[in-house]
Homo-oligomer: 531 residues x 2
Amino acid sequence: MMRKYARVSATIADLLRKRSLQFPRLLSSSPILDHPSSSSSASSSMSSSSTHPVSLGTINEKVLKCEYAVRGEIVTLAQRLQEELLAKPGSHPFDEILYCNIGNPQSLGQQPITFFREVLALCDHPAILDRSETQGLFSTDAIKRAWEILDQIPGRATGAYSHSQGIKGLRDTIAAGIEARDGYPADPNDIFLTDGASPAVHIMMQLLLRSEGDGILCPIPQYPLYSASIALNGGTLVPYYLDESAGWGLEISELKKQLEAAKSKGINVRALVVINPGNPTGQVLAEDNQRQIVEFCKQEGLVLLADEVYQENIYVPDKKFHSFKKISRSMGYGNEDITLISFQSVSKGYYGECGKRGGYMEVTGFSPEIREQIYKVASVNLCSNISGQILASLVMSPPKVGDESFESYSAEKDGILSSLARRAKVLEDALNNLEGVECNKTEGAMYLFPRIYLPVKAVKAAEAANTSPDTFYCRRLLNATGIVVVPGSGFGQVPGTWHFRCTILPQEDKVPDIVSRLTEFHKQFMEEFRD
Amino acid sequence: MMRKYARVSATIADLLRKRSLQFPRLLSSSPILDHPSSSSSASSSMSSSSTHPVSLGTINEKVLKCEYAVRGEIVTLAQRLQEELLAKPGSHPFDEILYCNIGNPQSLGQQPITFFREVLALCDHPAILDRSETQGLFSTDAIKRAWEILDQIPGRATGAYSHSQGIKGLRDTIAAGIEARDGYPADPNDIFLTDGASPAVHIMMQLLLRSEGDGILCPIPQYPLYSASIALNGGTLVPYYLDESAGWGLEISELKKQLEAAKSKGINVRALVVINPGNPTGQVLAEDNQRQIVEFCKQEGLVLLADEVYQENIYVPDKKFHSFKKISRSMGYGNEDITLISFQSVSKGYYGECGKRGGYMEVTGFSPEIREQIYKVASVNLCSNISGQILASLVMSPPKVGDESFESYSAEKDGILSSLARRAKVLEDALNNLEGVECNKTEGAMYLFPRIYLPVKAVKAAEAANTSPDTFYCRRLLNATGIVVVPGSGFGQVPGTWHFRCTILPQEDKVPDIVSRLTEFHKQFMEEFRD
């Protein structure tokens, strides 16, 4: 199914030119994120007079420009429908809202890893560690690990602000975990623990972006955290297009072309964002491709911002996760050769602990004085939350063979990952069975990003409704089925193409129902708008 | 001791004029925060050539400008000394570093409130809620509360991202707590839960500051989060001076004068920051003074940013905490009359749970479209950590009379607060006994902010060492005693006056030793530099 469109996508660049898309617009801070409805509502409210001292006309324009579709208008509609269902059961043609808009596994019933939660609970209330009842309630290695962690915290004070980079002992554990993963040394002083990966991304954008003249190369489609953070920090998003026809592959020639084009417009490109495994594409980069990317950053003097939060989420036997740090070290490149930031989070993987807001960035290749600046910015918020810090150390150092929890831990982990792989396949097949839909393989991460070929009549109906065609489709899908997905325009897409992002996270017993509701809706939609 | 200098401070404004302090400098983004040593080191490293793609000359200037003294150079020195002590015991004339630089109670031995930690542990590992051993380990009301909280979380998923403002049920609890505190209604939809109060302050600064032409009225001395956040967001700090001779009182005439002066320079003043109880001053505003402030904001169309994180920390019988919301509502002002943000945190009070990073802002008086913008910015980071959210609900709704935990909870709470009051008094008296030191009463919060009259010789020695006189004093204090305090220049002070901030947080058994070390050091210092 994918192959038949290959000839089109091979010439995305030509396509763009033919559509006479103006480059400056592409370079503007959120160029490919079309939200006609929200922007028009903004301008209309701006005219409403108010006695309030603050109005849309007087707030920071960067805030206005920022968009974050993952929690955008479709989700707001979903929340309203949920309230209506609660207030009046039967008021909609579905019983529940299925949030497939966001990588939030536990909201859809995924259970936390027991060992991790045992350790967190014990660190939250260390007073019970010495009690005999605790032996019966918690596993031995969880108790042991809690003691080890408490001993790493000055005064065993889990309620104290830590070092602004995070507790040193936990950073030691994380560095050891990175070393074990990569086979190359990691320095605990390079680790900055953060409340999830998002604040880490903001810190880097804040550091690098001085004005609209500074650009960040971002994949299109991208995770909208990047476009939002670039907009909030007043920089310019320089898009590079992933090749949908080649399984969302990243072509170095495209990077080069977009970098040159940006330079010729006077944009100072500072960094390259790579999301691997890909969000929303689900693509996992090949090792050789990663080497080319490292070489490109080195040659061009770009900071490499590597979003590696899905490093544990790989579902195909022929792909493996390699960190960009490992790749660059294997090429003989050290701190002096390449500036590389790797982002990791406790929210993804098999753990999916989104609510804990844990994560870290490993910062390598900056001079000491820039490191000091990063530390200073981190210190303004004092530190990230300690439970999140502890959890970040746990995911980088889970139970090992011989530990009491190892078997149950492994069973939980494998159960989640193999189920995710099955769900990805079922949903991918279901989507590919729909008329006018083609969906690439989810090799990794947590998403499907199908392309939908919408009938002209649907595109016109969207225009009449003052919304983008993909938003129009997603809104109709939600109203008919309760399934919440995110329009492709929130992530960016080749103009004139339409997609949506759907997670693979609903529990397996719900998947058949989702497939049938989606299939039925799509058929009716295509019937209604058939040209 | 305070009274004898009253005649001087009454004319701070004249003093400023006499010192021919130029106003534009006062308006620059971190005007009164002098860090000669750090800025000179910055410029020297800027010249060091490097192969790195990022240098001090090419990063965001706003990051360079930002200063955060609470974790600044003195703390960096302290960390080094601590490592040296560990590596080589006896290498310094003290056995331990006493961190009096930061309001971090549990790092100095304060114990967490048992009930709060019980609930957090149970919510982290709900699997044990049904086990019989749990009854023996946890109090009945903690188990009951954990169930109530879990039932407020969709799917009982404490590991899921919540609504971007925080879990609705917890916001209901917080709103009820605010109502009980103030006697006026609070709306759960006005609550934004955040990872401590700092991110909430950043969101407001990000919203209000468009350029250097936008100003925020901040008290001097201030908590450096404000100067740092204003610098990072590219605005201008418009200082208003608290009157040290009147117990750090806030004079409306000073607000008016500084507002007019800022306006005449073309600065668009957007908001007024008030910290009550005061950080670093320890002053608690009188009710009448608060009414004047509300009236001033209403008249001038200013957003009132009320830092109320020390609302539980009041140590004198003649002062009481009144929220600005209560004050404004008692004046008959509602949402249409005044735009008011109240910041609260789980890090302070008697709980002191800094490491949990919980907090909220109550946002009132914005139009719906501005609220939407605030929601959007909050949503880019998805949500704050759930443990912090739960804890924020607990501090606003602690055990009540009749609950199993009520007695032990009350004993813990009263024990901490009465001990803090005693420590404040002992340290205040000790400081006032020192030659050339005068220290106002700590009515609330967690700090002393004594003024030190340094001999001319000491000021010259500081100049020769390329540092500010107060930093010079604090550095000497640290090297001699292991006591870490923050130079007044980090908070701002009337030029030519010198202070330091010292917390009242060391445990009571350590206070006598601190007093004697401090006293001895100060005597020797004054001897050494006597003119």
